[in-house]
Subunit: 706 residues, 2 copies
């Protein structure tokens, strides 16, 4: 018995550790596949086609310099000898064109694979934003959803806030297609990262693991199930960036709605196991967890804060423009007639084509995102001579060698190309994260700015710039600062990171109020209650509005029309017994309204609320009743006791109530902080039930206020 109790308490921890381990293993496979597949765009290893370029030609010196070794084992498709592929200065036009064409063709092939893999998980969704007031909206029912596409983070946010999206969203098949799709999508060289998809993959692993533990199953205890998903999300970022603490904070700051301390501790364990396993498996070959380790030393002065602040402003502008432009692009381009008629794969191929054509000529951004980032952070003063990286040779050019004009042009055009491509890429129907492309754009811009600041390594500004640009796009703060120094190991640069991040967040908020994930949620039509945001909105409501608007800012606004109330009210009578036929009829009415999460409010003859029976529970209770009785006897006249027996287990005897005169603020706080699904509105004078609010109704009310 003691052992059983102990096991019961330990389950959560075991589940967290298991999720971490499994996620790390999947991430390892994806990581090594991406590197090999991406290198196929340029050539293959003679010894074994499964080796990537770095493994094929090991580098002698610190790999943090980001230089590829060169050797005869690596065979380039175009026939350009590997030694000169590092330096494009004296290139021949014909092999260059050949390499270009092969690069584009491979990118298109990988894009095709990623696109088709994504299509396999197409799902039809019931409408989730149906507020019953507008009959035309009913026809939007049966929306199509591709669980594998995008980063998955907006959907996970919605699920964690208590809504059900689609049972298949976290299924093993989505896990598999997301892993394969992400591998090929990243390999195309498109402006997308595998970090968002990794978070989705880890959530899928969390959902799988929950099946092993009865008390965490989604149908047994949905709150505990969601907590396990929150925990799982931290593992995704932990393995994507080798940032275990950043993963926990990302889950807290960006993804989770409800994050009590107990969940934080388990996230911590989950993230730790993920990091330990990925470090032991060592996909990068460095044996380190830190992806982009740098050692600049502390040579920045107080005056440099101005530059960091300027990078923050630039990052904010970039993020603001990206959010606005991506939103408009999604609203406009994907609604064009020919785009709607053609398969989503066509859009993917278009984007891949543009990406490959624009990125190949620019040596700085030809590789996949993480290699681009690694190269941009090089500290040239530590770079050994003779083995100098391409970047350092460019920066070291004197006037006689042609100056740095071309290099500057590549940096600036690289930033703009990244902006343009990221805008059209995010939202494509392939697995796509936004984190790495934003870091790349920031690093390009920062490196450029660094050229203008004398006496300090320009890599420092590349590093701070990348943090600023990502802050502008995602609006992360604390978690981003932690991720940045878990990525670079630069603990001395925490204040610069913080300056840039906070400035970028302010500027971006001023340009576009919502971050990229919030906009994506809105675009995808997923309901989400951001209680802090909503509170600000309802607090601003005028207490004495003009009568036309109809928004008084009190709970009266949320009282449903009388006929709706008739349908959802169930009179229990003095002995709390109702006929089964009544229950069936009420259920049928609720279903006819198309809502999935309505319910019946039970009232006595004085119209005082006695309980609440949610729709899903009512349905389940009736099924159980049918099983236990003989069907022949069942004429529906039989009475069911609501206070005792089978049905009573499903009745919430103490639903929370609030008076009709209370401000809407109360409802927002209670739904947001207590995680309520429904709230009863009572008349102030008599405590009679006058209405019921469900979460979706509150959300559509908040939308009206926008």
């Amino acid at each position: 018995i003691q052992v059983w109790e102990w096991w019961d308490a330990a389950q959560g921890w075991v589940a967290a550790a298991l999720i971490g381990i499994i996620t790390a293993c999947i991430a390892f496979v994806v990581d090594i596949s991406v590197v090999t597949v991406a290198d196929w765009k340029e050539g293959y290893c003679d010894r074994s086609i499964w080796l990537n370029r770095r493994e094929c030609c090991p580098v002698d010196k610190s790999p943090s310099l980001g230089v590829f070794g060169t050797c005869d084992d690596w065979v380039s498709w175009s026939g350009i000898p590997p030694s000169s592929s590092i330096d494009d200065d004296d290139l021949d036009l014909i092999p260059y064109t050949k390499a270009y064409a092969i690069y584009v063709l491979f990118a298109l092939l990988f894009g095709l694979i990623a696109g088709f893999v994504t299509l396999t998980t197409k799902t039809n969704l019931p409408s989730v934003n149906n507020d019953n007031t507008d009959p035309t909206k009913m026809q939007e029912k049966g929306k199509v959803m591709y669980p594998t596409s995008g980063s998955g983070i907006p959907e996970i946010k919605t699920i964690l806030s208590g809504f059900v999206i689609s049972p298949s969203f976290l299924s093993p098949s989505v896990l598999l297609t997301k892993a394969i799709g992400a591998t090929f999508a990243v390999s195309t060289g498109m402006c997308l990262g595998k970090e968002g998809p990794f978070v989705h993959i880890s959530a899928c692993v969390g959902s799988l693991v929950s099946k092993l533990f009865p008390k965490y199953r989604s149908n047994a205890n949905s709150a505990k199930y969601r907590q396990l998903l929150s925990i799982a999300c931290s593992a995704g970022l932990s393995v994507a960036f080798g940032a275990p603490i950043g993963g926990v904070l990302f889950s807290y700051e960006e993804i989770s709605t409800y994050f009590p301390r107990r969940v934080m501790w388990r996230s911590f364990l989950c993230s730790l196991f993920a990091a330990m396993v990925i470090k032991a498996l060592n996909p990068t070959g460095t044996g380190k967890l830190v992806l982009f380790e740098t050692h600049y030393g502390v040579d920045y002065q107080a005056g440099h804060y101005l530059v960091f602040w300027g990078l923050g402003v630039a990052g904010g502008i970039y993020g603001g423009i990206f959010c606005k432009a991506n939103f408009l692009w999604s609203k406009w381009f994907r609604k064009l007639g020919f785009m709607k008629r053609s398969s989503p794969v066509f859009e993917v191929l278009l984007v891949v084509f543009f990406t490959a054509v624009l990125q190949f000529p620019n040596r700085l951004i030809r590789q996949t995102g993480d290699i681009v980032m690694e190269e941009l952070l090089v500290d040239c003063s530590h770079d050994g001579d003779g083995k100098m990286s391409w970047l350092c040779r460019q920066e070291g050019r004197t006037e006689e060698e042609g100056g740095k004009g071309l290099y500057y042009a590549w940096l600036i055009s690289g930033t703009l190309v990244k902006l343009l491509l990221t805008i059209i890429t995010f939202g494509c129907k392939v697995p796509s994260g936004i984190i790495i492309p934003s870091l790349d754009a920031g690093a390009l811009f920062g490196r450029m700015v660094g050229q203008l600041v004398p006496g300090i390594s320009p890599g420092i500004f590349a590093m701070v710039g990348s943090a600023a640009f990502l802050a502008g796009v995602s609006r992360m703060t604390v978690s981003l600062a932690v991720i940045m120094f878990e990525l670079t190991g630069e603990v001395n640069f925490i204040p610069p990171f913080m300056v840039a991040i906070l400035t970028a967040k302010w500027v971006a908020d001023a340009i576009s109020a919502d971050g990229v994930y919030d906009l994506a949620q809105h675009l995808l039509g997923h309901p989400f209650l951001d209680s802090e945001h909503a509170l600000d909105k309802v607090r601003k409501l005028d207490p004495d509005p003009d009568p036309g608007s109809g928004h008084k800012g009190t709970m009266e606004d949320l009282i449903p029309p009388a006929n709706t109330m008739d349908e959802i009210t169930l009179f229990t009578g003095p002995d709390f017994r109702v006929r089964k036929a009544t229950l069936r009829e009420k259920l049928a009415r609720l279903r006819a309204r198309g809502l999935m999460d309505a319910g019946l409010v039970l009232v006595n003859e004085a119209c005082i609320c006695h309980g609440y029976l949610p729709e899903a529970e009512l349905e389940f209770a009736l099924e159980v009743l049918d099983e236990t009785r003989d069907e022949e006897e069942d004429d529906g006249q039989e009475e069911v006791d609501l206070w005792e027996g089978v049905v009573s287990e499903f009745v919430d005897r103490s639903p929370l109530t609030v008076t009709a005169k209370a401000p809407v603020e109360y409802a927002v706080e209670m739904f947001g902080k207590l995680g309520l699904r429904y709230l009863i509105i009572v008349e102030e004078e008599t405590a009679r039930v006058v209405g019921v609010v469900i979460k979706k109704r509150l959300l559509s009310y908040l939308d009206e206020l926008r």
Copy 2:
């Protein structure tokens, strides 16, 4: 007008930045004072008495090695030539004894100063834990409180959870005495740190700054005021450790009850400004924010995780023993007759005497806590020869030179002495934090363990050990991991830190359920609602208990006795008007009950709740009424309209209600998450008011369950 709106929105940010800057300046003064004053115990600088030893004799090499330079400017009291003061191997007995005696005397002198400074802020408190059921408790009223003593963190936790402790707790005079007291207390060499006091100082600064901004004043909007205090706390830890992100997370994880995103962003800014200013002021002379920077490289293997795990277990045992022993010590020793009669300064002097006598002989722990820590983290393999630190010379001893037996003995006895002294020190009536002594004990133990692990720098285990011991004592997790690598800059050691921290937390939780701050809150008798903990407790309540206990686990348990209900119920009549005399009488009755946060529940003739009027608001409303009317006319017969006019502003028209059959869990969630002050209990059948719960009543109910 636009400018005004902009200023209104920017105020919170400006206040946060201001708090950060002021806190950093105060911390700078304390930091440099401590170093100089502490060094006076051993000698003085000939050039200027205000210079500390390190400034007097600058070291040529990296100060992270923790070796003092030696020069003729530094004059030792004992006459021991400075060069040999580093090495105690060949010491003469007479100058040694002289140095010992002077060390102890100076320590006692500093202890005396710290003790008397602390006494100056003595305050009498009204009883805060008065549950009205036990008349003997009424006599505990008038408890004495020393706001300057201790770390201040337990009190701040209580304040942030919504209780009022004492208006003087965050006053400027407490700020001043805490700063002076902390300087001298740390200088004695006692086992206490300045980190907790720094958090208290930053909270005082927050309180001061709030006076500049009308909307943040405590009497204008206590919720916003508390948010500003949450923000301020992050600055305290930020300057204490040079850990800006750690500060934010500490405020979130350990101190704050309510920490929405907006508060997090402002904490981030506050913490950032504090870090930037302290870095620019440069109290350590290194120009770096990272206090104990080390560069071990990544030479730990998977097998070493076992050692890290073992350190975690040790840290957990240490923390558990410390919490239990310190609690018992406080309960027993301070209740002894002669201790109660004598001044608290006597206890301080006793502790200082023991500390000085025990610590001087052990070269490892003779200095103040942060220097001890710095020396223990030395990486001897990087240590240049000839300038070797004392520690490295000990570790490098061969058998012929006498072996390392004595060194081992110093390490082990050092750990035990730290444990013993910390137990008797924490809770003394001087400003005292627990963080640095725990880190020291862990570093001593870890260094010891490191001697037994071949082929890896023992400093690594000192570092991980210190994290483990602090985790055991304080039960911090994420914030501690962040603080540890902001302290050391060792991003590669995040997984070992996490392993040790989580293990230590588990083990310590098994030994003593509450961390040191929770125990201190309990000891000091401060009310605090830890809603997660409380939820666990009420969920375990047996739904069908034996009738004797009386705890059904439903709201019925919390219904006050009938006579109490009579006193706190106010019948409003059909026109919502009551006589002023009635209000006065009710107020007098509430006062007579000795409660400060009760209130009146307004009911109509059907006994339906119509509103709530808290005691403090009632008092204020009556004062306002008295001011506006002529006193002569006032016979108390005049009727006051509760729905309109002056009094109505103070009436909460929509207090939240819950039925008597609802589980207590509901009340805990609502008080904890919504920050309620009162909750109305209504009868299920009729919605009549049957009771009112205030937060203190809920807390005393939860205490009964213990």
